[in-house]
């Protein structure tokens, strides 16, 4: 129908671009949050799992008699018991050709392949009684050799975890573009280095939590779950438990953080659902912190060898990389564990204009916890390798790191641009971001100060890291490979008799403020006050089917979906208003919850009055006019397989060379996520992401012994970044909206994480450079820094 006089973005009372407070913040701060563990059930039971104490072992026998007789026990179940109720799953997708993974069951059967794998489930009246019962289970273990080190996983001498595959290789990929060998042969300098990235894990504040409730009378399974993808889980439960989608409802209440960790399928969760079907009673599982460390997916774990070719005037002509990554004993389901490595090798070199590129990826099995997607999948590794190599390239030709980047970053006249790895960049803003960054940092003064302080034995460093971030994925990500994961999102918008609007949307909220952003879009397009919109998410019985939250898609895809639904509802409202007021719909507008004359703004009627007529007095309308006060729209990105954002970060650090301690002085980010819906939410996404990347850079590591045992699986030993050590983080924006949607938002959930570790790594090496030292492994522990400085005596 008609176009509004203003676009939703520039009309006077638009909420888009404004830092409105999050409506749910008050509720959560008041302690009124309803997390899965808060939901009350009659006849609730609790499950606890006996987990493998070994990285690799055969189960020769299980004696469950004492456990079955323990107080409060309802059932003790084994892998074989649950395999009768739950079909196994296989973490492969067809678009990762050659990816292998064996069938995985809820609980181990006959053999365990990582320390922490669930083996026996005890369901009891309380969690404590379930744990008591598990202490009485006797397992006859036969320990088998563990494959821990990914470097030797493919050696012929190493035992093979899944003998049916013949080796420990899960996946490999080779990319080649341009004339790589010639570029290296012609280079003025060839720089070579090897980088190591430790495993880490999400450590969400709220652990994985679920209550599965099977009602035998209706043959319906309801799962309350702390998940970011209720629709995907509905499909998984239905297909693996022998139900139809229609028999399964998944509800995500408040979710206390997820970071990509809460969209994978876990054996303990499948077991919980199966147990509820076995018992016809609700079963609750809450992962405690100890089991979270050995069962929540781990992330990263890469060794990357990299070479870069540079001309005498500092032009980077080629990258060649070799990435080895270990994923544990299985590829995760249903998204696989191949995406991480795939993204690493496709993102390396992303901001730069070299045309010659070669990459080799090897993904190997190990007897460690499963590795898979986690916030900024692959990006931090790609960014760190690229940016560390770029700094080495700068040093090799005697150029300042900023200057070398200026000479090599893609320029504004190059878009649309197809990268050597096949990515298409619609429009990026690297140079604008770099210029802004340098301005915010007062780069020249920092360099001068650095020089001055070095003379006093104070070693400060400046690290820069440009990045690109994949966002708004369409079906190219999973759907084309056969995964039943929706690429589109949906929104139902309804005007209620009160004149208020309810927005049921398939994207979900885990604390990042998605619901607020959706409300801002709906209110702005409709022309109503923000508090007249109530957003409902996360219930497969209520909200439309959709992809939900992953890969920075909430604002870009969910936001556009809401925008389209709001446009449609607005048209319907104005059509009704025109009928009631006997005016042309396009002479009317909705402003601040009132129907007004588009020209002049004279108030004509309140929305509540319009709704009253629509619902209670349609008899007063012309007989052929049907008011439609509920609309539904879906949206899937088209025109490109996914979007790209870009930006740049910088870290300023001081390295105490006596102790190897690193002090973070300041951090800067200039990000371009297209249209910014809520600046405060965007800035806090970036800051949170930066902190997560700093965790990887300095603190977080799942440390494994040669026996495949994780050695630091408690919060006393696994260090998460804490506020006290974090620097001030300055955030600024350049805005290049995508033309593939009206909203123009590209997503921002992972940008902070993508580059902050790279910036810190570069800053530390910048500080160490005059001492002739370099660290090549993150996290940058005091030990690693001291070792690089030669300060550890034998």
């Amino acid at each position: 129908m008609t176009a509004p006089p203003f676009s939703p973005f520039d009309r006077p009372n638009s909420y888009i671009g404004r830092s409105v407070p999050r409506p749910n913040a008050r509720r959560l701060l008041a302690g009124r949050g309803q997390f899965t563990d808060d939901v009350q059930f009659a006849r609730l039971t609790h499950v606890a799992f006996l987990r493998s104490p070994h990285a690799h072992a055969r189960i020769r026998g299980l004696d469950l008699n004492a456990a079955k007789a323990a107080p409060g026990v309802i059932v003790i179940a084994t892998g074989a018991d649950l395999a009768r109720l739950c079909r196994p799953w296989v973490g492969t997708l067809t678009h990762f050709a050659g990816l292998k993974s064996p069938p995985q069951y809820p609980l181990a059967i006959d053999r365990v392949v990582w320390r922490g794998e669930p083996v026996v489930a005890a369901v009891a009246a309380t969690r404590a009684l379930a744990e008591d019962a598990l202490e009485l289970v006797v397992v006859d273990w036969e320990e088998l050799p563990a494959v821990a080190d990914m470097e030797t996983a493919l050696d012929p001498a190493t035992s093979v975890i899944h003998p049916e595959f013949g080796d420990n290789k899960a996946f490999s990929l080779h990319l080649e573009s341009g004339a790589v060998d010639q570029a290296f042969a012609a280079a003025h300098q060839v720089i070579e280095a090897e980088w190591h990235f430790g495993r880490h894990t999400a450590v969400s504040l709220e652990p994985r939590t679920m209550v599965a409730q099977f009602d035998p009378s209706e043959q319906r399974l309801t799962v309350f779950q702390s998940t970011q993808t209720p629709y995907q889980m509905q499909d998984v439960y239905a297909r693996h438990l022998g139900l139809s989608d229609a028999q399964v409802r998944v509800v995500a209440k408040d979710v206390g953080g997820s970071f990509g960790m809460k969209l994978h399928v876990y054996g303990d969760e499948m077991a919980t659902a199966a147990l509820s079907m076995m018992l016809g009673r609700p079963v609750k599982f809450v992962a405690d912190r100890l089991e979270s460390f050995v069962s929540d997916i781990h992330a990263r774990d890469h060794r990357v060898k990299a070479r870069v070719a540079v001309t005498a005037d500092g032009e980077i002509t080629a990258f060649a990389v070799d990435d080895l990554t270990g994923i544990g004993p299985f590829s995760a389901y249903p998204r696989t564990s191949a995406v991480e490595g795939n993204q690493v090798i496709r993102l390396i070199g992303g901001p730069y204009r070299h045309r010659h590129y070669r990459a080799d990826l090897k993904v190997v099995f190990q007897n460690k916890n499963i590795m898979s997607q986690y916030r900024a999948v692959g990006h931090p590794i790609a960014c760190a390798v690229t940016e560390a190599m770029v700094d080495l390239a700068a040093a090799s030709v005697g150029l300042d790191p900023v200057e070398l980047r200026r000479r090599n970053m893609l320029t504004d006249d190059m878009y649309p641009y197809t990268s050597p790895t096949g990515f298409v960049f619609e429009r990026l803003s690297h140079h604008q971001c770099l210029d802004r960054l340098v301005g915010h940092m007062d780069y020249e003064s920092l360099r001068a100060e650095q020089e001055r302080l070095r003379r006093h034995g104070v070693f400060r460093g400046i690290g820069i890291a440009a990045y690109i971030e994949i966002t708004n994925p369409g079906p190219a990500f999973y759907g084309v490979g056969g995964a039943r994961i929706s690429a589109q999102d949906g929104c139902i918008l309804k005007l209620e008799p009160s004149g208020q609007v309810r927005c049921l949307v398939s994207v979900t909220e885990q604390g990042q403020g998605t619901e607020t952003a959706m409300a801002q879009v709906a209110a702005s397009v409709l022309g109503i006050p923000l508090d007249a919109v109530r957003v409902v998410t996360g219930d497969t019985e209520v909200t439309p089917h959709g992809g939900a939250t992953w890969a920075s898609r909430g604002a870009g895809i969910g936001g556009e979906t809401v925008l389209r639904a709001a446009r449609a509802l607005r048209d319907n409202i104005l059509a009704l208003a025109g009928t009631i007021l006997q005016a042309h719909a396009d002479t009317l507008d909705i402003r601040d919850g009132l129907i007004v004359d588009a020209d002049g703004g004279r108030e004509r009627m309140a929305l509540a009055e319009l709704a009253r007529i629509a619902f209670f007095r349609p008899d007063t309308l012309p007989p052929d006019f049907q008011p439609e006060m509920t609309v539904a729209r879906h949206h899937v990105p088209r025109g490109q397989p996914f979007a790209f954002t870009n930006g740049i970060q910088a870290a300023h650090v001081e390295v105490e060379i006596e102790t190897g301690f690193i002090k973070l002085l300041k951090h800067w980010v200039v990000d371009d996520c297209g249209r910014v819906i809520n600046p405060q939410l965007v800035d806090e996404q970036i800051r949170g992401g930066v902190v997560q990347g700093i965790g990887a850079a300095l603190f977080e590591e799942c440390i494994y012994g040669a026996d495949g045992q994780m050695q630091n699986g408690t919060l006393a030993d696994y260090l998460v970044p804490m506020a006290g050590e974090m620097p001030d983080i300055v955030v600024d924006h350049v805005s290049t909206p995508t033309v593939y949607s009206e909203l123009g938002a590209k997503g921002v959930g992972e940008a902070g994480t993508a580059a902050s570790a790279a910036a810190v790594l570069n800053a530390v090496n910048d500080a160490l450079r005059p001492l002739g030292a370099r660290v090549t492994t993150i996290p940058l522990t005091p030990d690693r820094v001291l070792a690089a400085l030669g300060k550890l005596d034998a």
Partner: protein, 292 residues
Amino acid sequence: MKPPSFDYVRPRSLSEALGILAARGDGARLLAGGQSLMPALNMRLLSPELVVDIGGLDDLRGIVERDGLVRIGALTRHVDLQRSAIVVRHVPLLAVAIDHVAHPAIRNRGTIGGSIAFADPAAELPACAVALQARMIVAGMAGTRIVPADEFFLGIYETALGPDEILVALEFDAVGPDQRSAFAELARRRGDYALVGLAAHARVDADRLDEVRLVYFSIGPTPVRARTAEALLTGRPLTRDTVTAAQAALAADLDPPADTQASSAARRQMARVLLARVVMELLDPVPIGAGG
């Protein structure tokens, strides 16, 4: 992470508590602030039959100074030490060290008695007690005995306390005008247990130290005195060379463990750095509350 079941009692007097311990012996555990005991129970590292909550024994609380002696009740919380003017004036080492113990939520519950009795090798307060030659006042059915700090810590989580005894207080000599303390530790994050820490106490006369006590923590099974280094720093003018010699001597004094946080070699390097820092601090102290 749920504790195995246990019985619980909350005695109203010290003698009642001692009676319960005498009757139940090894199967009982005292509960003070619970900040170490509760995690150990939840992780099923301990499974006592009986938890004896001594939180009601008010006589075990409080800080008093009389005739040059400071007595700190075992149930005195970390936060009470932080707020005590007596501690700042008369036992300044504790005042400095306590800021490094954990976080506010833990300091609001954790007690000095719990910390000393638990004897975590990485804890600050045991090292301070040894540096200051505190006396542990220990009650048992047979009466009260006094154990010097030097004889109290026997091994990892192991002390001179018998299973039927209760630590009721610590007693410190108020620092004299010519005595100084210094404290330094290296922790990855504020509030973490240190990778290495050092509590020091000495008599100071211009640029000379006497009766030097250097007590390292997180570097062995108990607080560890660096006796060779102490001797090298004692009774002679302090120069760069003396400090370097003392640092070198640590090789003989310390045999640091390796764990996931730091290697033995890194701890040794850090121990040398801390030595130089505390010597500087002993000679030229920063007033408490200054700096940060």
